[in-house]
C-alpha cells in the first residue's frame, strides 16, 4: 500500500502518524482537547457528513490526537487503517459490529482473557450474537464448528493468562477457506513480537491499556484492518457490501475498497455506539509506543530469566511460559514469534489454591492488580479474580486453574524480582 516498509520498527514507533504541528511547529503530538471543529462553509460540512471528504466533524468520530495513534498502530501492525476505542473490550465489540447481524456467530479460541470469555459467552447474546469456543490448535474443530451464520474467527496471539501462542497462519488458512475474517487480539504480544497480518490475520485488536501504553495510566483499544479481506467475494457481511440506509444507499466496500472496514467503524460504529478513545488517553499511549521495542526486549529478557528460575524451584509444580524450551509451543515460538514469547505466564504453586492466595499476599515488589503489560511487575490469582466468572472447566481451558498464579513481568532488575518471589514462595509454602 505504501512505502513505509522501508523504515524499521524503531523509527516507525516514533514517527508513524506524527508530523510537527502545522500551525505551531509543536514537535510532540498536541492534545487536541476539543469536541468539535469549525467547517469551512456549508458545502464542506455537507461533504464531510456525506463521507465525500475526510476530516474532523466531532470528536466522537475523529480527533487529531487519536488519529495519530490510529495511524501509528495501523503502521506498526502493517494494516491500512485503525480505529481507536475507549478500551480493549470496546475494540472487541467494534471489531465484531460491522460483521454481525442478529443470529450470527463467531468461532473463538477457548484460551482467552476471562473478561473476553464472559463478553463472548454471555454479553454478546444481548445483540443476538453467539460464540462457539474451540481448541484453536484443532483446525478440524474450527471447521466443524462453522455454519452458514459464522461470520468471524477470533483468537489471542499470546493468550492471557499465558502459556499458549496461536499458530496464526494455520487458523488464517481455515478462515480463508470459510471466507470469514480472522480477528487476532495482539495485546500480549504487541506488534514488536508478532505481526498477525503478516501471518494471514485480517483484523487485529488491542487493549492499548497494556504494553502499548506500558505505564498503567489509561485504558484504550484499537481495531486494525489489514485491508486484505475481500468482503464482496465472501458476500457474507451485508454491512460491508449492501446499501447503507443511513448514507442514502452507499455501499462501503464498493466506495472505499480496502478502507471500507475502517470507514464503517467510524461512520457507523463510533457514530452510534460511541465507544470513543479520549485524546488524553491517545496522547499517553503515544508516549508509551515511542519506547515499545526497548521495553518489550527487556520484558522478554526478564520473563525468560524468571520463568527459568521458577521452573527449577522445588516449591513450584510447573511454569507455562511459552518461551521455555520445555514448552509444548517452543517450536511455534521459534518460528512465528522469533523475538520472544512475551512476558505473561502462569506457574503452579505446590499447595494449590491456599498457597496461591498466600503468595499473592506475601510479595513486596510485585503489584497485586488486575492489569498486565505495565513497566511494573504484576501478580494475580486468576481463578479468584480475572477468571472468577468462569466455570471450573472454562478456567482449566483458559489456563487459569485454581492452583496457578499469573505474572506479568516488568522491566525492573530481574534479581530483585526473583528475590521477591523467593521470599513470597517461602511464606506461601511454609
Amino acid at each position: 500500500m505504501s512505502d513505509t516498509k522501508s523504515y524499521g520498527f524503531d523509527t516507525l514507533q516514533i514517527h508513524a502518524g506524527s508530523q510537527p504541528d502545522p500551525t505551531t511547529g509543536a514537535r510532540q503530538t498536541p492534545i487536541y482537547q476539543t469536541t468539535s471543529y469549525v467547517f469551512r462553509d456549508a458545502e464542506h460540512a455537507a461533504a464531510l457528513f456525506n463521507l465525500q471528504e475526510v476530516g474532523y466533524i466531532y470528536s466522537r468520530l475523529t480527533n487529531p490526537t487519536v488519529a495519530v495513534l490510529q495511524e501509528r498502530v495501523a503502521t506498526l501492525e502493517g494494516g491500512v487503517g485503525a480505529v481507536g476505542c475507549s478500551s480493549g473490550h470496546a475494540a472487541q465489540i467494534m471489531s465484531l459490529f460491522p460483521l454481525m447481524r442478529p443470529g450470527d456467530n463467531i468461532i473463538t479460541s477457548n484460551r482467552l482473557y476471562g473478561g473476553t470469555v464472559t463478553q463472548f459467552s454471555q454479553t454478546i447474546k444481548r445483540f443476538g450474537w453467539s460464540a462457539t469456543f474451540v481448541d484453536i490448535d484443532d483446525t478440524a474443530a474450527i471447521e466443524a464448528a462453522a455454519d452458514e451464520n459464522t461470520k468471524a474467527i477470533f483468537c489471542e496471539s499470546i493468550a492471557n493468562p499465558g502459556g499458549h501462542v496461536a499458530d496464526i497462519a494455520a487458523v488464517a488458512a481455515v478462515a480463508n477457506k470459510l471466507q470469514v475474517p480472522l480477528i487476532v487480539d495482539n495485546t500480549s504480544a504487541t506488534p514488536y513480537l508478532c505481526r498477525p497480518i503478516e501471518q494471514g490475520a485480517h483484523l487485529v485488536v488491542h487493549s492499548t491499556t497494556k504494553y502499548l501504553t506500558g505505564n498503567g495510566t489509561v485504558t484504550g483499544g484499537v481495531v486494525v484492518d489489514s485491508g486484505n479481506f475481500d468482503w464482496t467475494a465472501a458476500g457474507k457481511h451485508p454491512s460491508m457490501t449492501e446499501p447503507e440506509p443511513a448514507y442514502h444507499g452507499l455501499k462501503f466496500h464498493e466506495t472505499f475498497g480496502p478502507m471500507a472496514f475502517t470507514f464503517h467503524s467510524i461512520a457507523i460504529g463510533l457514530r452510534d455506539l460511541g465507544m470513543t478513545m479520549a485524546p488524553q488517553s491517545a496522547f499517553q499511549t503515544l508516549l508509551g509506543i515511542e519506547t515499545l521495542s526497548l521495553r518489550m526486549q527487556r520484558h522478554v529478557e526478564n520473563a525468560q530469566k524468571i520463568a527459568t528460575w521458577l521452573e527449577n524451584d522445588p516449591r513450584v509444580d510447573f511454569v507455562t511460559y511459552a518461551g521455555l524450551p520445555s514448552s509444548p509451543y517452543a517450536e511455534r515460538v521459534a518460528k512465528a514469534y522469533p523475538r520472544g514469547a512475551g512476558a505473561l505466564f502462569t506457574f503452579a504453586v505446590k499447595g494449590g489454591y491456599e498457597a496461591c492466595v498466600k503468595l499473592v499476599d506475601s510479595v513486596e515488589i510485585f503489584s497485586h492488580v488486575a492489569n498486565l503489560g505495565d513497566t511494573r511487575s504484576l501478580i494475580i490469582h486468576s481463578a479468584s479474580t480475572t477468571h472468577r466468572q468462569l466455570t471450573p472447566e472454562q478456567q482449566e481451558a483458559a489456563g487459569a486453574a485454581p492452583n496457578v498464579v499469573r505474572l506479568s513481568i516488568g522491566i525492573e532488575d530481574p534479581e530483585d524480582l526473583i528475590r521477591d518471589l523467593d521470599q513470597a514462595l517461602s511464606a506461601a509454602t511454609a
Binding site: S2, P20, G55, T62, L69, Q70, A74, G257
Partner: protein
C-alpha cells in the same frame, strides 16, 4: 479478487501530479455511486473532469457535460492526460483500445482502472505505447492518502517526516 499490482508512492505521486484533465468512463450521475464520489472529489482538487457515459449524454456533472464516448470529447477540451475506467474488467479492454486510438495523439499519459478492475493484457497494450497503467486502485483514495487527508481518519498514509508540513 485477483492479486493487486504494486505501485510505489513516488510513481503514483508523479502520475497524479502531472495530470490536469481526466476522462471518467462509466461515471454515474447518481450521487451515492462511487464514481460520483471520485468525480466530485477530483473536480474539487484542481482536475478538469470529463464525464463519459452514453446513458446520460446531455446531463452535466460538476459543471461538465456528459459525453457519449472518448471519441466524442470535443477538441476544445484540449489535451486529455488520463482515462479513469469505471467499467467491469471484461469491458475495460475495449475502453483501453479506444483511448489508445483517439487520445494518444491528444496527450494521453495514464490509463487508470478502478478497484476490482484488472486487465493485464490491455495494460500491456497501453504500456507498449508508452502509457502508464494503474489497475485495481482508486485515484481519489490514493490522492487522499498521498496528501495526508486520510491521516485525519487514522489511515496508514506511509508519510514519515519530521519536517513542518507545507
Amino acid at each position: 479478487m485477483s492479486e493487486a499490482p504494486n505501485y510505489s508512492d513516488t510513481h503514483l505521486r508523479t502520475i497524479l501530479g502531472r495530470t490536469r484533465t481526466i476522462a471518467l468512463v462509466g461515471v454515474s450521475p447518481n450521487p451515492v455511486r462511487p464514481s460520483n464520489y471520485v468525480a466530485r472529489y477530483l473536480s474539487t482538487r484542481g482536475y478538469r473532469v470529463i464525464p463519459v457515459n452514453p446513458g446520460h449524454v446531455g446531463k452535466t456533472m460538476f459543471g461538465a457535460p456528459i459525453v457519449e464516448s472518448l471519441s466524442a470529447i470535443p477538441a476544445s477540451e484540449g489535451p486529455i492526460h488520463m482515462v479513469d475506467i469505471f467499467r467491469r474488467a471484461e469491458h475495460a479492454g475495449a475502453v483501453v483500445d479506444e483511448a489508445l486510438t483517439v487520445l494518444l495523439p491528444r496527450g494521453l499519459q495514464t490509463i487508470w482502472m478502478q478497484i476490482g478492475v484488472i486487465d493485464t493484457e490491455a495494460a500491456k497494450r497501453a504500456e507498449e505505447k508508452g502509457v502508464d497503467v494503474v489497475m485495481d486502485r482508486c485515484p481519489k483514495l490514493e490522492h487522499q492518502r498521498l496528501h495526508g487527508e486520510l491521516r485525519k481518519a487514522g489511515f496508514n498514509t506511509g508519510r514519515i517526516s519530521a519536517r513542518l508540513p507545507r
